[in-house]
Symmetry: none
Subunit: 413 residues, 2 copies
């Protein structure tokens, strides 16, 4: 038996007036998701705990069976490893942005005009050799990823992830001084290092001819690096070790890839899986159908539902849900249903009204052999609440799926 | 958005034969509570954990989002702070009763004939200067509240709340020797202090002319002080700090007030809110409607349902529930429903049959904007069990409400 887990990022929602009091899930035509609900067992899940809005990192950890309240150690390292930057257990990594600041170090543009990846790469070359006035005693790696995005990795002794962000998250605010969150000398040392680097980056960037060229072209100069989300790798047992399974993932987001990599899953590269509205769900379905032949567990993640929610676009969200339904339809047609469990859920609620992650539970449905089916006929936030799984936590989903695959270990004798 | 939480103390119950197998909630006419259920989302909540009967202190802590299993440190300090007796974090406070004992220190009347507050106050004056043979090294404060009730507060170094009661809780039993619950020297020291005080109080009281006068009048003398419920303040983050909200409470019971004070809520004084059958629910409703204009969260507590249950009076309990319904009706009419969440629940089950707090879950209903409504039409223990919230714990209610207000902080990034 195999299992496929389909996750629509931020797909769960609240009732929306413009959808006649329905949620986007309830308002969309999704015959395959409804078929899974009707032929399966349904429930609702709290991603972290009732009422707590989850970040995508914590929510994805939970879906893979890792309790975020126990294992979560920040986003930076997960994002880094998902961006193919090697991270060791003691490294501290930060998410960074190339940004535009004025003379007083006030942030003018947090993304330096969404600088093209090529320009960012050229600027990143300047940091290949980081010469500071003093030796900080750590190995410093800076790598840009897509557009303005980059990763800063610190490797060495006595580092801590317990430091604040230099990114003020708002235009018009000054670049923040990084400070220790706890009272340890490690946190103080790490904060000092990041503050020195922030200054160094600014000094190097402000004199750079690439920025002079950008200004001539009327583009905002990328004259600062903002850092946030200091993190270490979560200390988790990879799925292959924990359950004796082969696991794979189809996802576009570096963060989701990072979590899955930490979980020991194979990252499948699917051209056309973009993480945006135009993502190629047919290609994703094809990749899943192929992967399930040689893996016990395949996780497929679609980001665009969350994007539509953050954009406050209910119509678009309905459209993406219908696209996900088509993807699942291709998967259902492509696999042996006598030997395959299919689970559908969302990592968290993202409200098209607030544009934010919310702490409401998410619906879940699991169909396949051996399932204790219930009488839920439709996949939605309110219908699934009446299902046979009741109310549970996202961290419980993985053991439930693994139990159905016969992969969980007995507790007791 | 604002939120109002209405709590009927011990309002939840079990089916009662004399109510034709209905619970008091099910047997009462409560159109407004039913309207909230019909237009909201319902569920059931375990106040502490399934099957565990909660004390009022623990149950109220849970309703305000504090896990009693983690933060609870006895009732004494909560009762004291709710009676406007100042309590510092290291103080140990006890609930006390003036009582009547015979020559052998056997309890004859646990409440000294429910001695009038005036007599109790005069007796308390005798303790203004407590002169013991030896210096106990602590500051001792004794204050009477209503009738036979009083508070003993110990302030000083090396005190512990881990000591037993001197109150045997039954007539015909001797005053108990207070002993340490754990093996710490602090508990031993605290027990010794209370034992010395118990003896001192008895010696002072038995010679007092007020008691001689009481005996002449045929009243039981208040010749002893019984102590119970040693406690310290729970170490909690006040709601304003945790959620950035302004919170207020309308309640009559010192214990509930104490918990709310610890939670950083404003205590609203409502003349006519008595904590008994004759409590003025119209005045309470008015106070809530006014408070919600300047507060984000208003908690209104009605004690009389619990009183009726302890009295074993099902008819009376139905009557009080109908009174609560009228209160909620006034609240519903007084607020802007487009901007206000209203939640209704009970702190615990109090059975009119057993007269005791029981460990059954309580019903809950929340109505307001953004709610994922369900198809429950009536507010009751059994109807709400089929609601969209499923089964949760009381400690989860506050994060759920704060999430709907947009006040919870994201976990993860």
């Amino acid at each position: 038996m195999k299992a496929i887990l389909v996750v629509g990022d931020g797909m769960a929602d609240r009732p929306v007036k413009e959808l006649k009091g329905k949620t986007p899930l309830e308002a969309s035509k999704k015959p395959t998701l409804d078929w899974i609900a009707a032929n399966g067992i349904c429930g609702i899940m709290d991603p972290i705990a009732p009422g707590i809005p989850p970040g995508s990192d914590a929510a994805t950890l939970a879906l893979l069976g890792y309790d975020p309240l126990k294992v979560y150690r920040g986003r930076g390292a997960l994002e880094a490893i998902g961006s193919e930057i090697d991270i060791k257990p003691d490294d501290v990594a930060f998410r960074c942005n190339f940004a535009t600041v004025d003379k007083n170090l006030t942030v003018v543009d947090r993304r330096a005009g969404r600088i093209e990846t090529e320009d960012a790469s050229r600027l990143t070359q300047r940091f290949k050799k980081i010469h500071l006035k003093e030796d900080l005693g750590v190995e410093i790696t800076f790598a840009n990823t897509v557009q303005h995005r980059a990763i800063l990795r610190l490797r060495g002794p006595r580092l801590s992830m317990m430091v604040t962000d230099s990114d003020p998250q708002k235009v018009g605010k000054p670049v923040l001084r990084v400070s220790p969150i706890d009272g340890t000398p490690e946190a103080q040392r790490t904060a000092d290092i990041v503050n020195k680097l922030t200054q160094h980056f600014h000094e190097v960037l402000k004199k750079d001819p690439i920025n002079a060229e950008r200004v001539r072209k009327g583009l905002p100069p990328a004259n600062a690096v903002l850092s946030r989300g200091a993190g270490k790798l979560p200390d988790v047992i990879p799925l292959p070790l924990q359950y004796g399974i082969r696991a794979a993932v189809v996802a576009a987001m570096p963060l989701v890839k990072g979590v899955c990599k930490v979980a020991g899953m194979k990252l499948l590269d699917v051209p056309g899986a973009t993480g945006t509205y135009d993502t190629d769900v047919v290609a994703k379905a094809r990749a899943v159908v192929q992967a399930v032949r040689s893996h016990d567990f395949v996780f497929v993640h679609v980001k665009a539902t969350d994007v539509a929610s953050h954009d406050g676009n209910a119509e678009k969200k309905v459209m993406i849900i219908e696209k996900i339904d088509k993807m699942v339809s291709s998967i259902v047609k492509g696999v042996d249903l006598d030997e395959t469990l299919i689970a559908v859920t969302s990592d968290h609620t993202t409200s098209v009204l607030t544009g934010d992650h919310e702490g409401d539970p998410v619906p879940v449905a699991i169909s396949g052999p051996g399932i204790r089916t219930d009488d839920v006929e439709e996949f939605g936030e309110r219908t699934c609440a009446k299902g046979g799984l009741g109310r549970m936590r996202s961290v419980d989903l993985m053991p439930i799926i693994m139990n159905l695959l016969g992969k969980t270990r007995k507790f007791g004798a």
